[in-house]
């Protein structure tokens, strides 16, 4: 398979772009593999990639029920950041950030990673103090963070209403300049190509319909394309975790599936050169390279497997946007979509061995799975290859809830709907 390079671009341009090869093969499933990864989204593909690259395990199949990237990896708002408070989260997401910074080079695939920064707005003195605390916690662990004054924010985002007459006046903010965004489809395609060229079989339109067992032990899966055996079965199915775990006979988990909506406006000239989050409600906005404003807000708030949202949240998100940017009142919304979020009870993910023998579980990404894609795959691959967690994902176990060791970055207790 050809490398992408200036030379290959030129060569293919001169030959009318007729000779590009598909980025990954379309193999039929084999009877057995060393590892099956269920879920061909960002996390599943990056897991397969790092299994092959870091651990030399290439007899791997990634099973995707639809087409590659049809799930959450294409249903997010592409934000990448590592501005967390608690050390276990900060270390994990900072590792992810470092992988992001080298990802296009590593994959030989342009994921359009753009470090345009992420700014959290503060609207009360207490909130500003809280951001100062979080910024200090980040800097203690070597992550960049800086407090910004209203004047600095006004210069950075001129369209933002920072006047005293705003509905929620801005009094400052916390900026992580190394944060940014990446093209989500390219992330999926780049990992798929990287895994494929190392020998991983990526099998699309292959839905898992059950698990093969030997006593308690999981020994493979039955799928719409036949039975496939494997020594290790790894789940990375994000919002569908509840549904797939039910197939394995586990119907209760510390997880609820919710839908999160996102929106894109018509294209505008550049007005926001950062990712901005609103501190008084739940709203975030950035501008894509094509010019569309990409924004979203809260979960719909009740269990859902429907990949679409409801109107009350549309109403709420739009009013929050106008509280920040009154000048956008006449900008038209182009489209909206919903992604499934498997919300855990502490807002932090689960990457673990088990819960059944032969099974490995990667889930519970809540709102924030996209930014974790590289580190999630890296740590999950380590866990699968060695049968024990990497030090970065050791805290993210399933039994942390029962042992009182939950990682509650927002400090809002055991509830799946606030994080």
């Amino acid at each position: 398979m050809a490398e992408y390079s200036a030379f290959s671009l030129l060569k293919n341009a001169l030959s009318g772009n007729k000779d590009w090869k598909p980025a990954w093969r379309k193999p039929d499933p084999k009877a057995s593999y060393d590892v099956i990864v269920i879920g061909g989204g960002g996390h599943g593909l990056s897991t397969a990639y790092y299994l092959a690259k870091e651990h030399g395990i290439t007899n791997v199949a990634v099973l995707e029920k639809g087409w590659l990237g049809s799930g959450n990896v294409g249903r997010n708002t592409t934000a990448v950041r590592s501005n967390y408070l608690l050390p276990s989260n900060t270390r994990f997401y900072e590792h992810s950030m470092k992988l992001w910074e080298n990802l296009s080079h590593d994959l030989n695939y342009n994921v359009m990673f753009s470090q345009r920064g992420c700014l959290n707005l503060a609207h009360t003195p207490a909130q500003f103090d809280d951001y100062a605390r979080r910024g200090n916690a980040m800097r203690h662990l070597g992550v960049d963070a800086e407090l910004m004054t209203v004047d600095q924010i006004k210069r950075l985002v001129p369209a933002l209403d920072v006047s005293g007459s705003a509905r929620f006046p801005v009094i400052g903010g916390l900026m992580q300049r190394r944060a940014g965004s990446a093209r989500h489809d390219a992330v999926a395609w780049g990992y798929a190509r990287g895994a494929d060229r190392r020998g991983v079989d990526i099998i699309e339109n292959c839905e898992v319909t059950g698990f093969l067992r030997d006593g308690d032990r999981i020994t493979g899966v039955s799928t719409t394309r036949g039975e496939i055996r494997a020594r290790k079965v790894a789940l990375a199915v994000a919002g569908s975790t509840g549904r797939v775990m039910q197939l394995a006979g586990i119907d209760k988990m510390p997880i609820e599936s919710h839908v999160l909506q996102a929106f894109v406006s018509e294209s505008l000239k550049p007005i926001i050169d950062t990712i901005l989050t609103f501190g008084m409600g739940h709203f975030y906005i950035s501008q894509s390279d094509k010019g569309g404003l990409v924004y979203g807000g809260d979960l719909d708030g009740y269990n859902s497997y429907a990949q679409r949202g409801s109107l009350p949240i549309v109403d709420e998100v739009m009013s929050e946007m106008l509280a920040l940017f009154p000048g956008l009142a006449r900008v038209r919304m182009l489209r909206s979509w919903g992604g499934l979020c498997d919300m855990t009870m502490d807002g932090s993910p689960i990457i673990t061995t088990g819960p059944l023998p032969g099974m490995y579980l990667n889930c519970g990404w809540c709102y924030g799975g996209f930014k974790a894609t590289p580190a999630s795959g890296f740590c999950f691959a380590w866990t699968i290859a060695k049968g024990e967690p990497h030090e970065l994902n050791a805290p993210f176990t399933l039994d942390r809830f029962y042992r009182g060791l939950f990682i509650d970055d927002k400090g809002q207790g055991a509830t799946p709907r606030l994080h």
């Binding site: 509840g242 039910q246 119907d251 209760k252 510390p254 497997y305 029962y402």
Partner: protein, 98 residues
């Protein structure tokens, strides 16, 4: 989405507050059964299909109601008072008269 409150009738979803999985059973307050408490606080049924859940008509009569809703289609097949019978409705009406 319209939810039919057994007391007030069909109302828009924005009047309601979601309280989650209606299958969880709270252990007796004096219980020292850690597994039961853990299950109550953390574990949830998370089905793709009919889901038995509790809502509160927070912007209305404030009754807690049990709703069976399909998580794929948002179709609601039944609603009832959360704690059975019509006790809260009866009490509400009696108080209103006196």
């Amino acid at each position: 989405m319209l939810i039919t409150c057994p007391y007030c009738g069909p109302r828009d979803v924005i009047e309601f507050a979601y309280q989650g999985d209606g299958n969880r059973e709270r252990p007796q307050p004096a219980s020292q059964d850690l597994d039961a408490w853990n299950a109550y606080v953390y574990d949830r049924l998370n089905p793709a299909g009919d889901h038995n859940e509790i809502w509160q008509h927070a912007g209305g009569c404030r009754a807690h109601i049990r709703v069976v809703r399909n998580t794929l289609t948002h179709e609601i097949s039944s609603t009832a008072f959360a704690h059975g019978g019509h006790r809260s409705a009866t009490r509400h009406k009696t108080e209103a008269k006196s």
